[in-house]
Symmetry: C2
Amino acid sequence: MSYRAPVDDMAFTLKQVAGLSEMLEQGAYPDLADDLVEAILEEAGRFATEEIAPRNAKADMEGCQLQENGTVSTPEGWKELYQTWAEGGWNALTGPEEFGGQGLPLQMAAAAMDMWNQGSMGFAIGPTLTMGSVEALEKHASKELKDKYLAKLVSGEWMGTMNLTEPSAGSDLNAMRTKAEPVGDGTYKIIGQKIFITYGDHELTDNIIHLVLARLPDAPAGTRGISLFLVPKYIVNDDGSLGEKNDLRAAGVEHKMGIHASATCTMAFGDNGGAIGWLIGEENRGLACMFTMMNNARLMVGIQGVGVAERATQQAEAYAAERKQGKRVGAPKDGEMEPILVHPDVKRNLMTMKALTEAVRSISYRCAFALDQTNLALAKGDAKSAKHWQERAGILTPIAKAFSTDIGSEVASIGVQVHGGMGYIEETGAAQHMRDARIAQIYEGTNGIQAIDLVTRKLPLSDGAAVKEMLVEMSIWAKRAAESEDGRLALCGEEMIESLEDLNFATEWLLSSLKDGKPNLALAGATPFLRLFGLTLGGILMIKGTILSSEQQHSSAAKRLALLRFYCVNLLPQTTSLLDAIVNGAESVMETDVVFDGL
Amino acid sequence: MSYRAPVDDMAFTLKQVAGLSEMLEQGAYPDLADDLVEAILEEAGRFATEEIAPRNAKADMEGCQLQENGTVSTPEGWKELYQTWAEGGWNALTGPEEFGGQGLPLQMAAAAMDMWNQGSMGFAIGPTLTMGSVEALEKHASKELKDKYLAKLVSGEWMGTMNLTEPSAGSDLNAMRTKAEPVGDGTYKIIGQKIFITYGDHELTDNIIHLVLARLPDAPAGTRGISLFLVPKYIVNDDGSLGEKNDLRAAGVEHKMGIHASATCTMAFGDNGGAIGWLIGEENRGLACMFTMMNNARLMVGIQGVGVAERATQQAEAYAAERKQGKRVGAPKDGEMEPILVHPDVKRNLMTMKALTEAVRSISYRCAFALDQTNLALAKGDAKSAKHWQERAGILTPIAKAFSTDIGSEVASIGVQVHGGMGYIEETGAAQHMRDARIAQIYEGTNGIQAIDLVTRKLPLSDGAAVKEMLVEMSIWAKRAAESEDGRLALCGEEMIESLEDLNFATEWLLSSLKDGKPNLALAGATPFLRLFGLTLGGILMIKGTILSSEQQHSSAAKRLALLRFYCVNLLPQTTSLLDAIVNGAESVMETDVVFDGL
């Protein structure tokens, strides 16, 4: 295993392609100098490479179990790994400075999270949830709650969880049943069961802060009757010390396909009368509080796809460079066997892995950039800019989540294939990446739901103007490439202009379908549309990276051109067939009563 | 779990689309009446549905372990299942009548194997290997060996294995090291280690017949110095009773991603001087013997993809019809939640699964038809017809193997997605299908190797005439559809004509590249070409099924048209982008030294 966090390439994509350097130059983050960015990424890369990555396979094999005493075991060394990581300040990267955080832009978190996921998806998903908890408390909790909990969540001394799902309430939270009864002293008794709770219980930290959605008595039906509560595993005394265990427990740990190092728990609240909870934000506004953190959480799950794709690619490339079978065409008959990387079919596999990984990394980092711009504009009170970037981030988020995680799985699967029979043997590690990657397409809103969000909520933003403005910006890079004197880059630009036409056409068609009262036709095309958008956007950002790296004579310039060229000629042509599926395929999706027995 | 073998649809595809009825009408199988075909399929379907399928999940959880006493454990009830199955005569379906087999066409085995794999991939792969052993012995072994072993392998009283792979000799068998030393009495001592041996050891049967590739002393280097040996687990006495244990053992059982019910063993031959083996066929001609059975084995692995796709599809559809989340667009706000199957995105997922499953089933059965035609022509001594069908089967086999297994994995992965979070929980079963399906893309020659075989060995058959004749035949069905009075079918025909143009163009381009001394360009496009071929051929066969089912007023007619229509508008347009990747993408695959550090 020769994994190494590719810090230089990631830094270039972050600074130049996403645009962090642009923000730094404009003085957006006075405390963040260019060399500090590099130093942080270098150090994160070192931690991912040396500390996290080597433990990934073993943690997968050990997994987490519910013990007889009701606690949940974690893999050997996992607690020490987490504590070393938190003590290194990594959990506090983006946390509010008021509570001990470093207040760094989300772009830095994106790059760091990319590396933690390269190291281990099962590790990185825990802190992702804590980050979300910090955000929800920071934006919605009372000063009292903030003072009591935020510092320790920011430092990582405690971890946070999100408790949304119930057996009958998954993607549709209307049916949620968990109850919250006011005690009268400002607290609530929480009673109910939640499922699929990531890092729901463990002993990595002394306390766990659960954010729980529940219904107040007489709350309106549906999602407008849901409130958000803070429910600590151990009650926190006024002096900050830990008191009694709260009335909650892990009632089960799921047996999953992957991310075995992450305990996915069924949580039982109120076996003995009710777990004590505190309201976050207003009554019946819990879903809005949750939605605040959804954007970031979705981006961070997208980055899981990026991270696992990177890891799988490195592993496959190392194997292909080492494993000898066959010879290149034309080699002497009696010559030695050569590394399989000489075979064109293996080259194609590895080029596909590398090009797609760069595409989804660029999209995800760019999404973080848009979220950072939003926060900056809000902080400045610049409403116009805030709206612009909020809409841009709104469009980018479902693409970053769904396209990146689809690619994560696809790349990890190609990685298995490159290993041949060894890929199917668990000890090799390639299968783990594929098993781990698979969940990211599902949680934080399935990729189908992301596609529906993109089509039905994001395309119509500002009556379609938001997406159209974005498409115009994208076309500028395509034209720059098409006008290049380098014939290879010019060809990429031309391919990209065609794909942009497909994307424009599909966008208009979907907007018209929605306006003309044919929402089912738009919904039927949502998934191919998200892929069409992702493929095109990824290519545009790779053009940007190629042009800028060439201008700046960055060490990655030649490689970026080769990857771009491969991408534009081999993968980008798919946009035409995706457009077909969207525009011509919808009716064939809906007129299927004969297939589904009239359902 | 509401799995049921879809016998009616399968029978129609087998008889009308593949062409079994055509052969029956021509009197190819005088003993096989139409109602016998139906009866056999019905009974196989019952066995798969009632006996195999219910044991699949539990067997996956239990797996196989190497015991301290050196034996390999199998899942509880597995031995009884296998024995009931063999006693039902299922193992003998295609075996030679001379040795107790039923001598049925391979098409019947294909449909039956489809069902065994629907029931459990981990089960079906065992008998697949026995079938291969029967074939190798029947075609190449001496009368003495046949008389001693064939009847019991045909009945399934004993099982067979194939021992090819060694740690340094996988896809490239040149480096094989296992030795065979002549004892002088007509036997050989086999010494060496083989890996990835499917059903390498178990106690389902009293004996296991290993077919082992090994090198004689002073054999030529490379694959022309490899011989094939029969090496029984227990020596068989002249009276047919079992004698001493041979000098071989399972030295390890792999910890795999899936098909846990199938023990994948490392086999050690000759720890104590040498396992006794008997030569099959001629010295140094072992690879040719192995290749005899390769075609059938590759088809049967392709059918694993078909079977697991069918099972995953049924499971996803049942879940989608039951699981309630959200409501269809336009439903009353206060209405109840509806099954997720009402959502267009879920419909798209299920239609994709169903359409692709029918496509790969049609291709696989058609491949079995071509193999049956070959055998028939050989039996008749009709050399011209034999050559024709041998070439046709040669073209169809890598497509049936690789396209079907790629689709098996893709469909199983969509199945996980339809289940949402539940799909990632092992107890649901959807994840098992995805884990199981993954191996079929790898073993019996990776799908990359199948693509290379298709492009470099099969396209050039009869100087390209074989494939061109096939393309002409395909175009006839496309034209028939295009000329249909049903506008929906006509549209499909038109789409298909376009895809056939893509396929024709790609075929010519690849043949030219090979002729012009640019094999690397052809090799670089092999994988997208195989997919282009598979997508187009699958659609053509679905057109055939749609037209014939409509003409014959078969119950599946309306459903076949709906699936075809979905397929042609949503999936078939991919052929254009695949053509692009083949023709324009090859150089971008090869000019990548800058990416791979000059390797």
